[in-house]
Symmetry: C2
Subunit: 415 residues, 2 copies
């Protein structure tokens, strides 16, 4: 019997689609890591009756109810008095909250206001959980075998309260059964094709190990989930299953678990002691951003020349005006010249270049929006590949950067 | 009486926190635009009983039920047969689906597989809604005064089906009452301070106009929501309210509605006929990415030199090795030299530069992680400002870019 949780996200702004609920996502992940099964997530508005109903329904079906939103200091926040009402208790002043806020504000040279002081009013039956980075404290209720946790909706405040206060408390209370996830990450193959490729293997998976396909933008993750009593046994079983299927999918697999494509490239470059620079036109800095989102990337990433205008392509990357005139900026010739140019100009081992039409304007019949040339250059070779991405600007930029990263992955250290 | 909708997102991967549910967010926004009130969002796993329960509960409380997930061609997708079971109908072959898939695949030079053919099996009581960009069709059911819509979970497929098929159908069916949102977007002020600033005004808002604070990373949006019978009247009332409060908050307001800071900057640059280049160290291309995420940005954005290594700062931005040695890369002197350098090298009117410690490594007692210098340079002035951002690498990068954009906003065209 696994411990079941429900996440209740409160906020009109969520239902209006004005704020993306990354909280529920992050909490789901953390609960899963702590072997607590998220049974349901419920999103409701800032409405008294609806909040009370949601609490009741959740109390009846799960062991842990996690609530975010509606705890800030401003007037549209309802949750706190409603919790007092739900549990039939008074609001009482909690001096510890004032101490926490004072401590926080002293560091930041800020004054405690009357609005902040109001935040020290808490339902009488709750345990205060310190908010290390904000003014609204977390609250822990343990009523009739159900744990209720209420936290502010500001993501970094919720995360701090969860990490430092709530998760350790939940871990102490519950610890049963074993659920083990293993994720295999692929790029360059669609969900359907991957499914065709591994069909036989999939059909023969043992009953206690399930497979799921998780397609995200430009990538497909395979998730194997085993359930049982012993983590070691599950890990070994899944390792054997993975070994059996790898030969068929190796080319597409760039990593496992929490691996990120940009991180894997960093590891490859470090291992081969190679440096990298990018020359970007259509990706406009996004490729460099992905690379530099990895901490420690300054070891292998030296810099980038973002040449949005053709003048910069000629003056700073050495692309010939003749090639630009004859073939256009979005061409094999120019892409290769950019990759070679940035490698030479920024003095790195590898240069990678993107040039394309991100849209929505600028497309022609010959070169429609989504036409992208990506070039790779190192001491052994320089080559360029044409891609046809579709949909919108955001996608063309994202897919171009992914394709460039994948090109680096497949070519680093290959003669 | 407004039309009420519920969004049901199906997928173990959502509850495990492995996939972020951007679908429900996007759909909420579109429904709101179409004057359909999202009453609740429910996220459940790939579990037969749970899906059937969710359908039943939703049918009893709303007019429109939108379901995403579980329609792909692979074996972990359950939704379609369950819908047939829920409505008590057979699955039947729908030849139109095969035609749609064939049409789609012909363009992409792909073969229809047996797996795809299976996607033509649909519950007998549904109307097929064409999926213009994928193989799993949308389905429309109208049963006992409730509309059920089922769509695949792949975001761009869901969006295509919604935009081209579902929203026009919903619009035709329902059209009642008026709900009007107006959003004021601020940067450079916290939620609490903003609340203090506008408290009197807020307390005097009329009953049918509500205010909500929507803090996101580094920005606070104010949302005024009016409900009534006539859109014009609501718009006028809200315009008057806005006019009354603007003098107090003008400095922080960068835009309204769907305005994006990066788009506003584009408009400012275009209006003043000025060009821009960035010199980025700690933001590593993210600032250029934000700027170039705006379509048409090539008119005013010329390019960037991302100088992750000090060699590039000296060789390509003209930063003196003496300044680097004496003050360090993260310093007022170097930031200013970078902004001036990129303006000169890329021949633009404005140069903006970032240099800082994004972390998690590289901090010192004097310059802890989060220390960032941002410099602005144009024909009238060059100056640099120090920021202390906290938390993690992602935040430091994001907040630095926002601060740089805000600096451009406040200085473009100002002598």
């Amino acid at each position: 019997m696994s411990v079941k949780a429900e996440i209740i996200s409160i906020g009109d702004e969520l239902l209006y689609g004005q704020t993306l609920d990354t909280n529920a996502h992050w909490m789901s992940n953390k609960l899963d890591e702590n072997n607590i099964k998220v049974f349901q997530r419920t999103t409701i508005g800032d409405d008294e009756q609806q909040i009370l109903n949601a609490l009741k329904v959740a109390e009846n079906r799960v062991d842990v109810v996690l609530i975010t939103g509606g705890l800030g200091p401003t007037k549209d926040d309802l949750t706190k008095p409603l919790l007092a009402k739900y549990f039939g208790v008074e609001m009482v002043h909690n001096e510890e909250v004032i101490n926490d806020i004072t401590l926080l504000f002293t560091k930041a040279n800020r004054e405690v206001t009357a609005l902040n002081a109001k935040q020290a009013e808490l339902p009488a039956n709750c345990e205060k959980i310190t908010n290390p980075v904000g003014t609204a404290p977390g609250m822990w209720f343990h009523v009739n075998n159900t744990v209720f946790v209420a936290m502010p909706g500001v993501p970094y405040e919720m995360k701090s309260i969860m990490t430092q206060g709530i998760l350790p408390k939940l871990h102490k209370m519950f610890s049963k059964g074993v659920l083990h996830h293993h994720i295999i990450k692929t790029i360059g193959i669609t969900e359907s094709s991957l499914s065709d490729l591994i069909e036989d293997w999939e059909l023969n998976l043992p009953q206690h190990i399930k497979l799921a396909y998780l397609p995200t933008k430009g990538q497909v993750k395979l998730r194997l989930t085993g359930s049982g009593d012993d983590l070691n046994t599950l890990e070994q079983e899944i390792a054997v299953l993975q070994k059996a299927i790898m030969p068929k999918i190796e080319k597409y697999v760039y990593g496992f678990g929490t691996d990120q494509l940009e991180g894997i490239i960093g590891q490859l470059l470090n291992k081969n002691n190679l440096t990298l620079a990018t020359a970007e036109s259509c990706t406009g800095g996004y490729l460099a951003h992905m690379i530099t989102s990895v901490s420690g990337s300054s070891k292998y990433f030296k810099g980038s020349i973002i040449a949005y205008s053709n003048n910069i392509k000629t003056a700073h990357l050495g692309v010939s005006t003749e090639d630009l005139r004859k073939h256009g900026a979005v061409s094999e010739k120019v892409a290769k010249a950019m990759a070679e140019g940035v490698r030479r100009e920024l003095n790195t081992d590898i240069g990678i270049a993107t040039t394309g039409i991100a849209g929505p304007d600028g497309g022609t019949i010959e070169k429609p929006v989504g036409t992208v040339w990506i070039a790779y250059s190192d001491q052994y070779k320089t080559f360029s590949k044409k891609f046809n991405f579709s949909r919108n600007r955001t996608f063309v930029i994202h897919w171009s950067a992914l394709a460039a990263l994948n090109m680096i992955r497949l070519n680093v250290g290959v003669k």
